[in-house]
Amino acid sequence: MTTSASAPPAPEAAKPSPARRGLPLSWLGLLPFTLFAVLFLILPTMKIVFGAFQTPDGSFTLQNIRDLNTESILISYWTSIKLSLITALLGCVIGFAMAAGMVLGGLPRAIRGPLLTFSGVASNFAGVPLAFAFIATLGPAGLITIYLRTEFGINLRAYGFNLLSFWGLVATYLFFQIPLMILIITPALDGLKREWREAAQVLGASVGQYWRMVALPILFPSLLGTFALLFANAFGAVATAYALTGPQLNIVPIKLFAQIRGDVLGNPHLGYALAFGMIVITGIANFLYIWLRARSERWLK
């Protein structure tokens, strides 16, 4: 980020004539990409952002943002944030445990390749089919539900577990959150040098002290950064939740989906504001990710 900020003014001042002659032409090579990015990424997003601050006749207003302040919308944001936080946290903890077990815990090396490949598959196995898999497993007639009922007489429903609820969604989202964590954190764990652990041991540190005072501080930016990525990942997901519970679950992406399809809020510009809120939240999460990642990579060179 810092290099990018200082780089652009340089060519005009420093580069001799060939670069100057080639400058307009060489920028032309980026035209297709720029056109694509502007038309299908930046302009559509701008449309939403500006739309959030406009009245139907086009003048500036803050009313749309203020209108987000209804109970139903606030609850949907809060549920979404809670869902994303919990799945990101559990995904990080469990994924970290598995990755650490694989890299440092003395598990046979043979499991490394298959586990990483499987993580690649599972982290991409989201959306509608994932919902089906969980319905077939934990749903009312699912494998585990039936097994527990017939073999042990345990009725999950009587214990308050319902797949088509908040916690059901948490269980389902973890199926792609955990593998994503494994994929991202494994290179960071590989970057922990054996010498650091040995140096700590030589100086008399216990295993707990090594983790608390050496390894975790080094891994901390990676961990927090991955947490932010998992958060954004869960926050923007529509398909899994929609296929699992249909349009009734009150989370932001589902609400926005219904709004785009049928203007359920009764105000098109409130839809813009709803989407704008999503951009702000995932934007913050990803900004944290990029920033912390840049910091963590300094350690792991």
Binding site: A7, F36, G101, G105, G106, L107, N124, F132, I135, M278
Partner: protein
Amino acid sequence: MTRLLAWAALLFGLLYFFLPLAGMTEFSMKMRRGVYSFDAYRAVLGDAKFQETFGYSVAMAFATIVFGVLLVVPTAYWVRLKLPRARPYIEFITLLPLVIPAIVIVFGYIRLYNTSSWLPLTGSITGTNFLLMMGYATLALPYMYRSVDTGLRTIDVATLTEAAQSLGAGWVTILARLILPNVLVAVLSGAFLTFAIVIGEFTMAALLDRPAFGPYMQLLGANRAYEPPALAVIAFVITWGCMGLIQLVTRFSKHERAKA
């Protein structure tokens, strides 16, 4: 002690990942009462709607891959060769689709390119298909660009280009016969990942109202019992196939390089 915890974590994870897969497979074979059968698969595969939507999504995936390759390879090559100082900006843009949720992007499309706008893409079927392809291309952009850019890092772009130019090659020849073959593994990895993303995508296709595989699966899920898990098994096999192919081409290229 550490080893015990490591095994515990691994076993928990394996169980957690294995059970839903077992659940969906078992459930998908229970259509016929009392015995396991492939009736659900027969019902799904024989459904005309399935063939239609699956064919549509496969076609969209191929179109997206071709477009993505034509867009990303020349751009990444050009940035490496001529405009290294533009790299942070390009990289930032390619990461934007991870920041902006897909549903927000497609919402923008619908409002920006509706029938009363300056570019009424959603007014015709071809236009909407094109818009959907662009949407898929943005979804795949972070992975495709990263993959190709990493691939370009392993070759000496400047020297190869100069060598080709001194032999009289033009830009198209350089890109098609020099750069593309050299980053083929990276391109294929990006392509398989794009395929895995596009084939089951739900949000964009549903909101643009196109007959894709994702919305079809959702619709079936709301109305049937045994076919959805069969679809899930099929989708899982496809995802697994894509990831397997990525591994395969990567390993193959290592083998090739080792020989050379």
